[in-house]
């Protein structure tokens, strides 16, 4: 079953059409990397999928349930209860966006307890397990400003996982990190991939995308220019535009 299905997504900002009809789906347990030039629309696609932006045209569904629909006048509408759909996904931001006034443990525990209304003791145990797994067990009482960028990003991954999403999105998770810190974050994502976590990763780390993904999507100029297994896309693409793009990374 498709965890996420997007069809013919269009999105403009002002007069500038950023997404020009993208169809995109993710299956359960699949890891999909989205690559492409800056301004090509990959972050916008992610923001539309996570409902941070509203689409102009197209359809979105999670777990077979429609987020958007057309009314009898043919006007695009969003479902009333968007919180129902927010349960399905999590998002890891480029800039972490941790809550600075909460300790690490409170950052990861607060939403499951206050939003999902789960038992505090149970959530705490789960969160401590996750933090330990990410090598952050000793940082539970620290505040975000006391952590390195890599540690902050790992906390934000735990924060997303604590909500038990069906699919996890990453928006350039290592772009704000010093090169020596990207490794520790990529390792964590790799470990999640090995556990068959369903993930969509917008990234500039080509070697990582190649190693971790089941499918690679190359977005260029608001459309999907190429899509396929990493060996095809990175190995011997026939697509001129992809060749050019990858060439610029090898330079």
């Amino acid at each position: 079953m498709n965890v996420l299905k997007m069809t013919d997504i269009k999105k403009s900002f002002g007069g500038n059409e950023v997404l020009k009809g993208i169809s995109f789906h993710v299956d359960k347990g699949e890891v999909v990397s989205i690559i492409g030039t800056s301004g090509g629309g990959k972050s916008t696609l992610l923001r539309c999928a996570t409902l941070l932006e509203t689409i102009d045209d197209g359809t979105i569904s999670y777990m077979g349930e429609d987020v958007t629909y057309y009314d009898q006048n043919g006007k695009l509408c969003y479902a009333k209860d968007l919180n129902h759909f927010k349960k399905f996904f999590g998002l890891v931001f480029q800039n972490f966006n941790l809550f600075p006034h909460f300790s690490v443990l409170k950052n990861v525990m607060d939403a499951p307890v206050t939003v999902q209304g789960r038992d505090k003791a149970e959530v705490k145990e789960e969160c401590m397990k996750l933090l330990n797994k990410m090598g952050l067990g000793d940082k539970a009482d620290a505040y975000p400003f006391e952590l390195s960028g890599g540690q902050q990003q790992r906390v934000s991954i735990v924060r997303a996982l604590a909500m038990k999403p069906d699919i996890l999105f990453f928006d350039e998770p290592t772009s704000a990190l010093d090169p020596e810190l990207t490794g520790e974050v990529l390792k964590v994502i790799k470990a999640l991939a090995d556990e068959k976590m369903t993930m969509v990763i917008v990234t500039h780390e080509m070697a990582f995308a190649k190693a971790v993904s089941d499918r690679v999507v190359f977005i260029d100029g608001g459309i999907i220019a190429e899509e396929g297994a990493p060996e095809e896309v990175f190995g011997n693409t026939k697509n001129e535009r992809t060749k050019q793009f990858l060439q610029s990374y090898n330079d």
């Binding site: 941070l52 809550f99 939403a111 939003v115 505040y143 400003f145 909500m163």
Partner: protein, 216 residues
């Protein structure tokens, strides 16, 4: 009149000075938040009306506003002037200070990055939960120095109540100064305000410190 007598007489008004001070804070701090939210309303008409009201409240003297609130009802509707002057004094002060606080709040709220809202939205926090749990605590921390500034000014502004002859400390001092042709009551008043504000500074320092366990 000896210095001791002057001080004792003026002390009689300190209770009323404190009443203006605390009641003004009690009403203006929350009222400022209401005005601030109206000012940031997506409804352009509400936002513009609020903006205009704030500009009037900030752009005209507090003394004038106090006179208007105290004597306006009499001139406009023939309602007799309230015998307890504390009511019009607190109304005028609370509205005036709320206008200033509202702009401080707005500055604080708008300084919080969009990312904080987005992270909260993704995690499923409602708008109210996001504001109370995520945004407000960070705003309070950021605006505290500006709020302290206003509170210090308020301590000194309580003296403006003399214009409607409310018997607070400064009004009494002014009356003694007139009857005794002496400058001493003003010096005493100066010392009183300074001590009052030293206390305010001390308390706000503690509050600020209690919130500095994290960095933004």
């Amino acid at each position: 009149m000896s210095l001791i007598t002057i001080i004792l007489k003026m002390c009689e008004g300190l209770g009323k000075t404190c009443a203006i001070f605390f009641l003004t804070l009690l009403f203006s701090l929350p009222l400022g938040m209401v005005i601030s939210l109206l000012r940031m309303s997506k409804n352009k008409i509400i936002s513009k009306i609020t903006q205009f009201a704030v500009s009037v409240l900030r752009g005209t003297p507090l003394m004038l506003q106090l006179l208007a609130v105290t004597y306006g009802p009499y001139y406009l509707f023939g309602v007799s002037v309230s015998r307890n002057k504390l009511i019009p004094v607190v109304i005028a002060f609370a509205i005036n200070y709320a206008a200033y606080f509202s702009e401080i709040y707005r500055g604080g709220i708008e300084s919080i990055s969009v990312g904080q809202y987005e992270a909260a939205t993704i995690l499923g926090y409602s708008k109210a939960q996001t504001f109370i749990r995520i945004i407000l605590p960070q705003v309070v921390r950021r605006i505290l120095p500006s709020v302290t500034n206003e509170i210090v000014t308020l301590v000194k502004d309580t003296s403006i109540a003399f214009t409607v002859s409310y018997q607070e400390m400064f009004t009494i001092g002014k009356q003694i100064a007139n009857s005794q042709t002496s400058f001493t009551p003003f010096l005493v008043a100066g010392v009183f305000y300074y001590i009052f504000n030293a206390l305010v500074g001390f308390v706000m320092g503690i509050v600020e410190k209690s919130m500095s366990y994290y960095k933004q």
